[in-house]
């Protein structure tokens, strides 16, 4: 029943797709929301990257695909049941079913809330502003679950009346707190987070290679200052003073677009001018920044790197710029629909490429002109949250074991996640200390006993399972795939050479080896 629905949906989508693709290519803005479907996005990606859909040898295996898409959408590895279900499903539409199921799950929104919070308020990953994380992400989960448009999320953040924020209300106040409510911090963060442009350097002086001047930086900052009241009690645009100078600047837009000052000027209506301009700006930086960052979440590297420098001249032309333009136009036409974009990306053939293809062209200099190609999936490191949730999933434990002693205690999850924080997935680093913790730390070692690992406990108490099946189940639980014959043989051989070791210790040792493997610690 479900399969049929999806297939019908796919067929229905086919008609407008070609029409719409044509429109996207010619005049993107005329494409209407109703015409854009996830398939529009997938087609756009696969055409642009010239992926040959008929060549199945280049795609990831079912087990690899399920693990990848589960990590990306739900932030954890698949469970034993999910792996079995997927591997025994022979339906043509199994990929789309899995995507649908994962996108409907609550953890998807939690996962994406962490993703966007990290993109917009990266300071919250430092101890100083750690306290804003929880509330900000709670607000974001709520909005994402409701299917709020992306542009409306940005509007809500930037027009929050933060001075009159009711305590304990679910709002994005964390954005202001993490920027100490200072105009210059808010300006730098807002332009970086929502437009992908880097104004910070212009804060102190003009830089020869930067498009932005110090004056422009402080004019942007002025939007985050409070309006002043003149002698007639009328509100006037605020003036901010550039430090160490006599210069006082009023709010002005980066494009020098004319500002229509509102009748009633207050700090909210002032910021609304800025955010309205962000939406209307013909460079579409608001959409481009969102699409570029979302792409990086699913492919490792963004279309344009670094993600906070989209305004450089060098990245305005070429195949990468074209793809980003087209995807952003489609994103706008869809009504800034994040779910549609996400579904489109993970349904593409580009997303299901295997990570082991040995095509040399993918190693070419990414800055080189010429077509933008992806011939294999990038092997990515796991974020701290993904690593924690995956360890828990492998041991068949719930992802959160919150300490009960009070709110100020960090949950074990966030403590672990911050220890294994990575800056970005495609060049994720692992320190020696982190490796030591994963090998010798008490957290992992508790998972190697049946007291601390429900998965081990249940296979040890399953009389119908033979030893081979138990070993295979540990592979499925940890790596999301069956053990290969050679691996099974090697494991049994190793067990036999230590005759005195109990079965529990043997399986615990196997669990330890697998969670310390490169395969477990990457999304590939």
């Amino acid at each position: 029943m479900v399969h049929q629905n999806i297939q019908t949906r796919l067929k229905l989508r086919l008609l407008p797709v070609w029409l719409c693709l044509f429109i996207v290519a010619s005049a993107a803005n005329t494409c209407h929301a109703a015409d854009i479907s996830p398939l529009t996005i997938s087609r756009l990606i696969d055409q642009s990257l010239e992926i040959d859909a008929a060549d199945h040898s280049q795609f990831a295996s079912d087990a690899e695909f399920l693990r990848r898409v589960t990590l990306d959408l739900a932030g954890r590895i698949p469970t034993i049941v999910e792996v079995h279900d997927y591997l025994s499903n022979t339906s043509e539409s199994r990929r789309f079913e899995a995507i649908d199921r994962l996108m409907q799950s609550g953890v998807h929104y939690r996962n994406m809330a962490t993703f966007w919070r990290r993109a917009w308020v990266p300071q919250a990953d430092t101890p100083e502003f750690d306290s804003v994380t929880e509330d900000f992400e709670r607000w974001l989960v709520h909005r994402l679950q409701k299917g709020t448009r992306y542009d409306e999320l940005v509007v809500e953040i930037l027009t929050l009346d933060h001075a009159n924020n009711a305590p304990a209300s679910t709002t994005p106040i964390g954005f202001y707190n993490a920027n100490l409510s200072r105009p210059e911090n808010l300006a730098a963060s807002a332009t970086r987070a929502f437009l992908g442009i880097n104004l910070d350097c212009a804060q102190c002086h003009d830089h020869p290679f930067s498009r932005w001047t110090r004056e422009q930086f402080w004019q942007t900052a002025a939007f985050f200052a409070d309006p002043q009241t003149d002698e007639n009690s009328e509100s006037q645009p605020p003036k901010v003073r550039v430090p160490d100078t006599k210069m006082e600047l009023e709010p002005a837009l980066l494009t020098n677009a004319k500002i229509n000052w509102p009748q009633k000027l207050n700090s909210v209506s002032l910021r609304l001018i800025l955010v309205d301009w962000m939406k209307a700006n013909e460079e579409q930086l608001l959409a481009k920044n969102a699409v570029n960052r979302l792409w990086a979440h699913y492919f490792g590297e963004a279309i344009i790197e670094p993600v906070d420098d989209l305004s450089r001249d060098e990245v305005q032309t070429g195949a990468r710029a074209r793809l980003l333009n087209d995807l952003s136009a489609a994103f706008i036409a869809s009504g800034y629909d994040l779910n549609l974009m996400t579904e489109g990306i993970v349904s593409s053939n580009a997303y299901r490429l295997s990570s082991s293809n040995t095509d040399k062209s993918s190693e070419a200099d990414s800055d080189a002109p010429g077509p933008f190609r992806i011939t294999r999936a990038t092997v990515r490191g796991l974020a701290g949250e993904q690593l924690f949730d995956s360890l828990q999933t492998a041991a068949n434990l719930p992802s959160e074991r919150r300490d009960v002693e009070g709110r100020s205690d960090r949950s074990q999850r966030s403590e672990f996640a911050s220890r294994f924080y990575i800056e970005n997935s495609f060049s994720a680093e692992r320190s020696i200390s982190q490796s030591l913790t994963l090998m010798n730390g008490s957290f992992v070692n508790e998972l190697t006993t049946k007291q601390g690992n429900l998965m081990l406990a249940s296979i040890l108490s399953s009389p119908f399972m033979n030893f081979d099946e138990q070993i295979d189940t540990v592979f499925i639980a940890v790596l999301g795939r069956h053990a290969q014959k050679t691996e099974l043989k090697a494991v049994k051989h190793s067990f036999e050479s230590h005759a005195d070791t109990t079965r529990e210790s043997r399986l615990g040792n196997l669990f330890w080896v697998l969670v310390n493997s490169t395969e477990f610690n990457t999304n590939h």
Partner: protein, 425 residues
């Protein structure tokens, strides 16, 4: 770029082979052999990092009698005419071993930017991942050692990762509090260094080596990093290597002499690390961001600095290590000569001082001079690039040597604008 990556990958593969060789046989004895390979004494650098920006006007360049001077007195040192703060008496007795630069002049007054520039020698430029000084030195000496070649003690390193040199030259951090609080950093233990049981460890490592040899994971930046990190962690777990962090092995009189706080003990650990061939050690002393109550706080910090640093100097000298170990003592900037309303001093990059000692440095000198009120440099203005060039020359490295960066552009060890301070060399 591709050449650099190829050699890195080859090096990693060689290392991985070596490790699997020992991990498949007995764990401990083979590791001991690997450690014994490091025989000759190479040069090292110890960076004493005064985190937060120290009021150097109250340490190395006092202004007694001036409004900006504050309450501290100057004292004579072993070197005639070279005066320092009264709260650095033990260092004063060894002044012929170190020199002071009183004319540091830099541009960044924001902590994180200033730290970046001080640590890397470069201002941030687009996507270039500049490595910290420690990574550069560790990479140049490239010593084969089970102990990481760049160790940071206390707090978090200002520039993490190894920049474009890759994670094998990233700082190994000792005594770090977790990102969100947690264990006290005064305990300089390395967490999770020892496995639960040796027998179980051998069983696990054997199985790991076997399954690893069957792995079909494609090579990539991230897999290289994971493999390298795991292998290096295993080598460090070798009890012989791990013992370098065990301060219990020192006599209690020695531990006492260095000062019992985490900074003093960190200095002692630095000596142990240098003795074992580690190329670069950073010891961090936090708390110098004295916007208020500057004098009481600087006095207390000076006492810690004096005890730890003076013990380190004399200990290294007695062991014959000082001639091979360069000591750099500084923070990210100085502090305002003018004293603010809270008896504090604010950020001030325009004129500040720092100290250099040991290998390749001629001691007992004062370089440069500031005005009577401390606000202006009157002779020998010195920038970060000049200091970097001096440090590289001090340990026998050519500051103009180039490394290929992540953007495919060669980058010199020190910014070519810099000129080493010849009087010090």
């Amino acid at each position: 770029m591709s050449n650099k990556q190829l050699t890195r990958r080859a090096a990693l593969q060689n290392m991985a082979l070596g490790v699997s060789a020992w991990s498949t046989s007995s764990w401990l004895p083979n590791l001991a052999k690997a450690a014994a390979k490091t025989g000759s004494k190479p040069k090292s650098v110890i960076l004493i990092w005064l985190n937060g920006g120290p009021a150097t006007i109250d340490l190395w360049d006092l202004k007694p009698g001036n409004n900006n001077g504050g309450p501290f007195q100057e004292i004579e040192t072993q070197v005639p005419g070279m005066k320092i703060s009264e709260h650095l008496p033990s260092l004063a007795k060894q002044a012929s071993d170190f020199s002071i630069i009183r004319s540091m002049s830099t541009r960044e007054g924001d902590h994180s930017r200033a730290r970046f520039v001080t640590m890397t020698g470069y201002t941030p430029q687009g996507a270039i991942k500049f490595p910290a000084l420690g990574s550069l030195v560790a990479n140049e000496f490239n010593i084969e050692n089970d102990i990481p070649s760049y160790v940071h003690i206390g707090g978090r390193p200002a520039v993490g990762g190894g920049g474009f040199l890759g994670p094998q030259f990233a700082p190994f951090v000792v005594g770090d509090r977790s990102r969100r609080g947690g264990a006290d950093s005064s305990d300089l233990k390395v967490a999770d260094l020892a496995p639960g049981s040796e027998e179980q460890q051998i069983e696990r490592l054997q199985l790991q080596a076997k399954l690893k040899s069957l792995s079909t994971m494609p090579a990539s930046l991230v897999t290289d990093t994971l493999d390298s990190s795991r292998d290096r962690a295993l080598r460090l777990m070798n009890p012989k290597a791990a013992s370098v962090f065990d301060l219990e092995q020192e006599e209690s009189a020695v531990r006492e002499a260095y000062g019992t706080g985490s900074f003093g003990q960190g200095c002692l650990m630095a000596r142990r690390l240098v003795e074992r061939g580690v190329s670069f050690v950073e010891v961090s002393l936090n708390g110098w961001d004295t916007h208020s109550d500057n004098f009481a706080r600087v006095k207390e910090l000076s006492q810690q600095l004096d005890r730890g640093c003076a013990s380190l100097l004399s200990d290294l000298r007695q062991r014959g290590l000082l001639k091979d170990t360069l000591i750099v003592c500084q923070g990210e900037f100085g502090r305002t000569p003018r004293i603010n309303g809270q008896s504090g001093r604010d950020h001030w990059p325009a004129s500040w001082a720092m100290m250099l000692a040991g290998a390749g440095i001629r001691g007992g000198q004062v370089i440069g001079r500031t005005s009577k009120d401390g606000t202006k440099i009157e002779s020998k203005p010195t920038r970060t690039a000049d200091l970097m060039a001096t440090v590289f020359r001090g340990v026998g490295l050519d500051p103009r040597k180039q490394n290929m960066s992540n953007v495919g552009r060669p980058i010199r060890l020190a910014d070519p604008d810099g000129n080493a301070i010849e009087e010090l060399l």
